[in-house]
Symmetry: C2
Amino acid sequence: MKDHSDFYIPTYQDMLDAHERIKPHIHRTPVLTSEYLDNLTGAKLFFKCENFQKAGAFKVRGASNAVFGLSDDAAKNGVCTHSSGNHALSLSYAAGRRGIPCNVVMPRTAPQAKKDAVKGYGGIITECEPSTTSRETVFAGVQAETGGDFVHPYNDPRVVAGQGTCSKELMEQMKEDHGGDLDMVVAPIGGGGMISGTCLTLSNIAPDVQIIAAEPEQADDAYRSFKAGHIIADDAPVTVADGLKVPLKDLTWHFVSNHVSEIFTATEQEIIDAMKLTWQRMKIVMEPSCAVPLAVIIKNKDFFKGKRVGVIVTGGNVDLDKLPWMQG
Amino acid sequence: MKDHSDFYIPTYQDMLDAHERIKPHIHRTPVLTSEYLDNLTGAKLFFKCENFQKAGAFKVRGASNAVFGLSDDAAKNGVCTHSSGNHALSLSYAAGRRGIPCNVVMPRTAPQAKKDAVKGYGGIITECEPSTTSRETVFAGVQAETGGDFVHPYNDPRVVAGQGTCSKELMEQMKEDHGGDLDMVVAPIGGGGMISGTCLTLSNIAPDVQIIAAEPEQADDAYRSFKAGHIIADDAPVTVADGLKVPLKDLTWHFVSNHVSEIFTATEQEIIDAMKLTWQRMKIVMEPSCAVPLAVIIKNKDFFKGKRVGVIVTGGNVDLDKLPWMQG
């Protein structure tokens, strides 16, 4: 299956170009703070709220960069991808704005709210089983049939460069509104697109800021890869953090292995508790995936104590009829 | 029962003084927009997000103004009040910051999340039945026993002056970040504290801005009062918008009858639908009470079409275990 990694590592200039290219299509999302959560954790937390982003998640950054970077000729057959949800939404949104078709392969178990939103943006869905193997097989058929440009959800230099714009904004906003720099940034890790973009940007503009990844214990392939020194992939992990089930690939592994300081994991209950706490205290709707950073901060208080910590809240596309603390 | 209205009508200067007094104790909450909701309604909506306010609601403005305006002598017995929820929270928060006791009478049916939060801020709760009659009887006993200064949830010039600071900020933020003025402001109406503060401020700084009140059809005493030309009070209305069950009083009636342009009502289902839609699309947690403005805007599209409309999102203290679209 052809993708755009082929091992081109995006540069700092690629990220700057991406930001100029996507600015008309994204929000500069706010940075929120919570006195309650600061008191609870002993850290000073700055939440970069990509749940308020267009299409409801940071993924619109990378998707828009890929879509609007295509030549007219390359764009004529549209784009295609596979995604557990937010990348599908974001690519559909970006393709819709450019007026080109977007085909997406989604697991049949993806939240209904995400499927509805993809259709709302004009995306065409083909369903697969919720495993990496099934997803890749079904997708190969769709790609062959449509001839669309494959925008991988994370293993694509255009996508990584786009995701890197989030940390660029965060660091600018820290200086403008929050009195200076950060000691570390924590982001969830699934396939590693957001973390890789964070590494790309911070290793250039703020190399002293530590980059911490947060992962569900039940989908801890990045953690095990990090400890082993090579990629270990699970086929079908089960976690409430449905955006974080996919494995690292060559491009994201490059950034993770070179720039990430630490990976922490959290249990399902810790993730759900952190999610509910954020809704209660910060009054924001966010997905289980973006509660993983707060869960690991609460779990590892000594590590984060006294630090100024950026937290990437990656998305807010949750099924309001199936909230995890109301099941079972 | 003695309160502080005695018919002193707060002035514009009182509101300015209130803002200086309470600034250290409140957030300047953000103004959010939603392209989706603009397209849906045909209006341009600017949401003043008091769900992000300290103690989770705008009521902290009025409560802080009352608490921090007391002389040391007047403050020695603390403060007391009755409230269906957010005023109780806010007064407890403000009293806690000043280090004086706070006694609150709450209906036993108030959301558990609000009762817990009152206790978390150090407030002392006495429960009553969920009717105006019971609330006032129980409260008279508590006031006599404690000798605390009565801070009425809305029929108090200090409270109205405090709530007026919300529209002052909104109008400032419109000029700074959103390219100018508004045509109208819509706020929910229960006892009328927020609407009265809005009237106080806008009639001075922006007299051309129409002030619209939004009320649950099942607790439409303000609507009926407005049409009749005198206060009509219900004893125990039933609505999902639990912050809006209380009746107008002399001071708030003064502002409503002199400055409100229109009162619209919405059904329970319309309120719940608007609430869920806001959570889905804006990714913010807000109470049923603050969904009433959006519900009436969706219901009366012709009235709001093409207008620049400020919408006061009054609070976000909702019981996450009892969401209204998941009942029944």
